[in-house]
């Protein structure tokens, strides 16, 4: 063999979500869904994951594409790639933070294969899309052989590489709720220079009324802690006020307050540094989202 590889596995490429879920059930938690594979395959090479079976979603119908619904919401299929998100007119005009985050992921080749569903289901603590999912209030749609449901993004990420998905559930896509008039969003990231993973990434979505007063705000933070979180304490400071530099700075000081005692502390950045950068990037994300909302 020229190249390294993974432990052996059985390969399945079902054509329906139902069959995919049944395959997951059959292997009792020892099968992995394969989307773009750009997180899973490296983990398998390192033997961090050695599943008995791979259930490749590439032939499953209906998991790909971006649809604007009549109510203004957007549905994105789980197998939609970063490149498709970056080049989508709908995404760029209605939910630009998704395109901003997708264009920050890794490199050209990885963005050709990496998918939104894979990113969310993998729940890498430094993944970019989870922060945006939280800030835009996405609903994560999942299905098993028997039922389907939607999970609110701020209750979806549970821990390091851990989500609210059940072992037999397939993440089928997300729904981005309609953004109100006067809304703007943004994603900003402090990237590790070598890996380009987020040391800290912050997504913000704000809505301002005709008088410049903030009527709604959501902030999602990634990279800083064990999983993406919503920073409600920072949001509360913004709502009901004009988004002046002073107000944004005060909110940013509470950015990531939910992660107190849980900031990641590793070779890439200390907990103190991540905490400080979470505040800095919260201010930048809110400032950009506000400019977009008022633009």
């Amino acid at each position: 063999m020229t190249t390294g590889t993974t432990d052996p596995f059985a390969y399945h490429a079902p054509t329906t979500v139902r069959e995919a879920s049944q395959a997951l059930s059959r292997y009792r938690g020892d099968a992995k869904l394969l989307a773009g594979g750009h997180s899973l395959i490296p983990m398998m090479k390192l033997r961090i994951a050695s599943p008995q079976a791979i259930v490749d979603l590439r032939n499953v119908e209906g998991l790909r594409g971006i649809t604007e619904n009549d109510d203004g919401s957007i549905t994105i299929g789980a197998m939609t790639t970063y490149y498709e998100l970056i080049t989508s007119d709908v995404i760029n005009s209605k939910a630009c933070a998704i395109a901003e985050a997708a264009s920050e992921v890794a490199d050209t080749q990885v963005r050709n294969w990496g998918t939104i569903g894979g990113s969310l289901a993998h729940a890498d603590p430094a993944g970019d899309l989870p922060a945006v999912a939280v800030a835009l209030g996405m609903e994560i749609n999942s299905a098993s052989a028997r039922s389907s449901r939607s999970i609110a993004s701020d209750r979806f990420f549970r821990g390091y590489l851990e989500t609210a998905l059940r072992p037999n559930e397939v993440l089928t896509g997300v729904t981005v709720p309609a953004q109100d008039e006067g809304s703007g969003c943004a994603y900003v990231k402090l990237a590790n220079k070598a890996s380009h993973y987020a040391i800290v990434g912050v997504a913000a979505s704000v809505t301002v009324d005709g008088g410049g007063v903030c009527t709604a705000a959501r902030i999602g933070i990634t990279g800083a802690g064990p999983h993406a979180v919503r920073s409600r304490r920072a949001e509360r400071i913004l709502v009901g006020k004009e988004l002046t530099e002073n107000v944004i700075d005060r909110a940013a000081q509470r950015g990531g307050a939910e992660l107190a005692g849980m900031f990641n502390d590793d070779v890439h950045a200390s907990a103190e540094y991540r905490e400080a950068m979470t505040q800095v990037y919260t201010a930048r994300a809110v400032t950009r989202a506000a400019a977009c909302a008022m633009g």
């Binding site: 432990d7 490749d56 080749q109």
Partner: protein
């Protein structure tokens, strides 16, 4: 149990039976003897293994061959046609866009993708587009110049 893979590589159709864990890079190099696709880091960082899969630049060390079933793949061996170098190959020769040459196949394939999506990229766009390809000779200056040269020669303006 093996999986059946039907794959067209550089215009030639193949049908192979391989273990599921076979990577696309392994299939190309060991089954089809197309050793122009290099394996550098084997961790999807260096981009030396980049090939086009249905036109998309792809790190072939980070894809199971089974995922490419039904696909059309172009490797560096497929760039030239009828003895004529591809414009990107011509540009790498003209601008000395290689030193040891190890990263070159991946660089050229990614450059093909960059120019296909944007026929007249800025220097910054070329550098950003090549972010997933590492040159350990650090010959980036001439590599970028080669991509610019290819863009200029292909009529991009």
């Amino acid at each position: 149990m093996n999986v059946e893979v039907t794959i067209t590589v550089n215009g030639t159709a193949h049908r192979l039976s391989v273990p599921p864990r076979t990577l696309l890079s392994t299939l190309l190099r060991d089954e089809l003897d197309l050793t122009g696709t290099h394996v550098g880091c084997d961790t999807s960082s260096c981009g030396a293994c980049t090939v086009l899969v249905d036109g998309d630049a792809t790190k072939s060390c980070t894809m199971f061959a089974a995922q490419a079933d039904g696909s059309s793949v172009t490797t560096v061996e497929g760039l030239a046609s009828n003895g004529e170098l591809h414009p990107i190959q011509e540009a790498f020769r003209e601008k000395h866009g290689l030193q040891c040459g190890f990263c070159t196949p991946g660089m050229m394939i990614t450059a093909v993708q960059i120019l296909e999506r944007n026929p007249s990229p800025s220097e910054a766009e070329i550098r950003s587009g090549l972010r997933g390809n590492l040159c350990r000779c650090t010959g980036y200056h001439n590599i970028v110049a080669a991509v610019q040269h290819a863009a200029a020669n292909s009529g991009g303006d």
